[in-house]
Symmetry: C2
Subunit: 338 residues, 2 copies
C-alpha cells in the first residue's frame, strides 16, 4: 500500500471560495453575520477530484492520500477567531464528505481554527469534533497564525501545550504547516512554507518539547525545509549547544515528508535523515503544478524519484506505508474499515 | 589561489565588545553620547587571528578570506541610526586594520549602518568610505534590519534602489546577510540566516531587480539557504509564474557560497546550481565551531568536502578563485598589490 501523507483539497468546488468571499466581504464591511454554508453536490465533489487527485493517484500508483483543506487558504490571519472557526468548520466538513465519498482514497486531516493572539487551546474543540465525529486522524498546525509576522511564541513554548495535550489525548499528530503570507517579503509556497519548516526544526533542537510530550508526533513537510541540505549545520549546532543528536530528538516525534521536487533533493533527504522518520508525500495538486521539461513528468510526482532509487523492500515499505502507520495511530483503523 | 568568500571577525579583541556594551548601556539609559573608540593594539589583533582564522587558513590550505565584521553582532535592530553608524564605523575600521596587518590573508567587506525604517540610501556614505578610503571590495546587506520581524520591503523593491546605485557605481557587491534575531521564533544561525537566504532568492525570482541593475551582484550565503535542496520546487515555481529560468536569473547577478557543512549537501549544491555561480566559502570561525565526530574534522572545513570530489581542474579553478574574482571586480587589484 502506498500512502501519500500530504495532500490538500486545492481543487474544491467554487462554492467554497464563494463562502470565503462572503466572509471577506463581511470583514471589509465590519460585519460578522452568519453566512449560509456552501451548497455543494456529491457530483461536484467527484468532478473536482476525478480529474485531479484521483487521476494522479491512479496514474502514479498511489493508494490513499492523507487529505486536508487547502493550506494556503487557511489564512488564519484574516478576521478574528469566529471567522477562522466558521471557515475551518466549512473546510473540514467538506474534507469529511470527500473521505465519505472515497473512503479508500482519502483519510482526513483538519484545519484548526487558529487566530493570532488567541490561545491554541481554543482549537481543541474543533480538533475533537474532527477526530471523534468526522473520523479524521490528525491536524495541520500553523506555527505562525499571523501569516508571516511570526508573532506567536515558538512551538516549544507552553503557550501551545493545551493543544498538544488534546492532540496526544486524541492520538492526532500535527503537520506543521503555515498558510498564506501577508508579509510581502515571503512568497507563500516559495519562502514562507520552507522557512517555517526550517524554523520549527530548529525550535525542536532548542527546546525540550518531547520530554514533556513523549507521544506527540509532528510532521515537518516539504522534506524538512532546509534541514536535510544543512544536516551538518544542524548536527553541529546541536552539538555546540549540547543538545541531543538529531536522530534521537526526532525518533518518535519528528517526521519529514518527501515533498522535494527533484531527484537530487530526494536522494539527499534519504541519505541524511533517519529512514524511520521519512513519510512519502507529494502535496499534489499543490505548490508546483507544472511538468519538468527535463524529465517530461510532473515536478510533484515524488514517487518517481523514489522509484528510481535502489531502496530495497524494507526501506520502501517504511517510506510508503510503515512510517505513516506508525506516525498516525488512527490510520490503521481507517484503512482496515475499507 | 584559494579564496574563501565568507569570513567574519568573530574573534575580535574584547575591547570591541566593551565599546558595544557601552552603547547598549547608553541605550538603556536613554543617552546617546559619544563613546571613545576602542583602543586595540596590533598585537591584540594578531593574537585574535593567529590561533583562529590564520591557523585555519594554514591548516586547510586556503590563501585569502573576504572578511567582514561579525554578522550576528551587526544587530541593526538595536538603537537608532546613529548607534548603528557608530558601531559600523568601529567594526569596519577594525576590519581595515586586520587587512592592513595581513594584506595577503584578508580583504575587507563592510557592515552597513542600516537601521529599521531608515532609507537604505543612508548607508551609501559608509559604503563609500569603506571602499574608497579603507580599500574594501563589498558589503554585507541585511534584508531585515528589524532582526526577525521582517518589516522592510523585499530586496526587489525600489526602497533599496539608491543603495544599489551606489553599490553598482563602486563595483561593490553585497552578501545578503541578516544578523541577530530578536524574534524568539528564529534561532539566529539555525533559522534566521537560512530563512533569509531562501527568502531573498524567492524575491529575486519574483522581481525584475537585475533588469534594472544588470551589474549588481549579490551573494546568497550558506549555500543559498534551502534553495538547492528544493531546486525542483524553485524551477517549477519560476516556470508556473512564467519567470526566467533560474540559471538565467542568476547568471551575472546571484551567487551562492559553499557554507554547507556536510559532504552530501555540498554534492547536491554542485549538482544543481550553475558552477559559475558558486563561490568557495567556509564562514569559519562561525556558526558551527565543533568537530564532526563522524569525520574527525571541523564541520566548517568546507574545502575538505570539495577536495573529496572529482571536480576537474576547470571547475576547481572557478569555485576556488575564478568566480570570486568575477563576482568582486575590486578583488583582483587587492590581490595583485601583494
Amino acid at each position: 500500500m502506498i500512502i501519500d501523507c500530504h495532500g490538500h483539497y486545492t481543487t474544491a468546488p467554487k462554492a467554497l471560495q464563494a463562502f470565503r468571499d462572503a466572509q471577506l466581504a463581511q470583514i471589509k464591511e465590519g460585519k460578522n453575520n452568519h453566512i449560509a454554508h456552501p451548497v455543494i453536490s456529491d457530483d461536484e465533489i467527484r468532478e473536482s477530484l476525478e480529474g485531479a487527485q484521483l487521476k494522479f493517484q491512479r496514474e502514479r500508483g498511489t493508494d490513499v492520500t492523507i487529505f486536508s483543506p487547502r493550506a494556503s487558504a487557511m489564512a488564519h490571519h484574516i478576521g478574528d477567531e469566529s471567522v477562522s472557526l466558521a471557515w475551518s468548520e466549512v473546510c473540514n466538513d467538506l474534507i469529511a464528505r470527500v473521505c465519505g465519498l472515497y473512503p479508500k482514497n482519502f483519510v482526513g486531516v483538519c484545519q484548526l481554527p487558529q487566530s493570532p493572539g488567541v490561545p491554541p487551546s481554543h482549537s481543541a474543540r474543533e480538533l475533537e469534533r474532527c477526530v471523534n465525529d468526522l473520523g479524521f486522524i490528525g491536524c495541520n498546525l500553523n506555527p505562525d497564525p499571523s501569516g508571516g509576522n511570526w508573532t506567536s511564541p515558538p512551538l516549544t513554548d507552553r503557550h501551545w501545550y493545551p493543544l498538544y495535550e488534546k492532540m496526544v489525548e486524541l492520538e492526532a499528530p500535527g503537520m506543521v504547516h503555515v498558510s498564506a503570507s501577508c508579509n510581502p517579503n515571503f512568497h507563500a509556497t516559495g519562502a514562507h512554507y520552507i522557512n517555517a519548516d526550517t524554523t520549527a526544526f530548529m525550535q525542536f533542537i532548542q527546546g525540550d518539547l518531547f520530554k514533556d510530550f513523549p507521544t506527540l508526533k509532528l510532521v515537518i513537510p516539504h522534506g524538512g525545509g532546509a534541514v536535510p541540505f544543512h544536516w551538518g549545520r544542524y548536527r553541529g549546532l546541536a552539538q555546540d549547544m549540547k543538545r541531543p543528536l538529531l536522530e534521537d530528538m526526532m525518533k518518535n516525534n519528528v517526521f519529514f515528508d518527501t515533498c522535494v521536487y527533484h531527484r537530487p533533493g530526494i536522494e539527499l533527504l534519504l541519505k541524511v535523515a533517519p529512514i524511520d522518520n521519512i513519510l512519502f508525500g507529494s502535496e499534489m495538486v499543490g505548490a508546483v503544478r507544472g511538468i519538468d521539461p527535463n524529465t517530461g513528468h510532473y515536478y510533484d510526482d515524488t514517487k518517481r524519484y523514489l522509484d528510481a532509487l535502489d531502496l530495497g523492500a524494507e526501506t520502501r515499505a517504511k517510506l510508503f506505508e510503515g512510517n505513516a502507520r506508525r506516525t498516525y495511530p488512527r490510520l490503521a483503523a481507517k484503512l482496515k474499515a475499507h
